[in-house]
Symmetry: C2
Subunit: 168 residues, 2 copies
Amino acid sequence: MNIGEAAAASGVSAKMIRYYEATGLLRAPPRSEGGYRVYDAAGVHTLRFIRRARDFGFAMPVIRQLVGLWQDPGRESHDVKELALAQVAELRRRIGELQMMEAALARLAASCHGDARAECPILEDLAMPRAGDRAAPFPADKNSSSCHAHQAPESASRRRPASRAARS
Amino acid sequence: MNIGEAAAASGVSAKMIRYYEATGLLRAPPRSEGGYRVYDAAGVHTLRFIRRARDFGFAMPVIRQLVGLWQDPGRESHDVKELALAQVAELRRRIGELQMMEAALARLAASCHGDARAECPILEDLAMPRAGDRAAPFPADKNSSSCHAHQAPESASRRRPASRAARS
DNA sequence: ACGTGGGGTTGCCATCATGGGAAGGTCAAG
DNA sequence: CTTGACCTTCCCATGATGGCAACCCCACGT
């Protein structure tokens, strides 16, 4: 079984199979006389295991542990469950993060008229400094959400570019 | 205002400020005689805007659009709202994905005893081929979740490594 | 006036998982 | 024996970020 067939059978791209092998996640399979990687059913099975673990969002180091446990007949299911629960916690953390963003942004979007006028609470909120920001040295920008005269595009640049130019 | 102060005032690291400038998200600020970037309050304000947009998970190309709209007095709030709603949809899509994973994995973890025994439904599920997988050429692996004799580690490798070795 | 430390500048490398592509070797079918 | 599909390795890129190295600049202290 060549790498292409193994890829089709496992759902892992050939590129990724080589990558997993290079990073030590997979043991190198034997090679044919021409140097082709030759996979057997067990190898494909391992690849499917890895893909399934990735589908659950496990990071590669954890997948390495999982594969090790899977192939270890003396494993204790306690260790597997611990990894799984840690991943559940991580997923919940990420879900919570995204939900915070989603709720805040949906609320903002709902408050925006969405018409042809320039006034927009979304931009106003984005432009608003929040608690936790160090104060700017002078609060001179009152017309925040309509500032259009920002930094000068090209003015008096590189008065002494000698050293930088010389280095390259 | 040097880049360090601008970073502290905006919450964007100096590294990221340079990165945003290099990728065209920020216009290059004027430089001092020594070549230092010099930021004014408007520049810091823009940086805070960008950081806030990143906090909402907007991708950089979208942030570019948002900054453009923000600085465009002739903008229409419709365009802003459209970007925001697209981002809300994207966040919901990601949340849904993660929730699928989380639910499935939590269910699996709950079904695992988590004791000293090797038997583990989590590993069994990971090892189980799902619908959508191309069938393996022969279904020879019945003792799936306890397979420990996988590929041979080092056997008859590189019978003809001449070309590869010669190239490097 | 001179040194020194802190901070600026560029550039390169690394992440993490993945894809793309080039240059070259292998294999199987016609 | 040719040809086209497939494999091999190596290099590069992503997106957003951090780290390090080498070098430069500035302000402050003596």
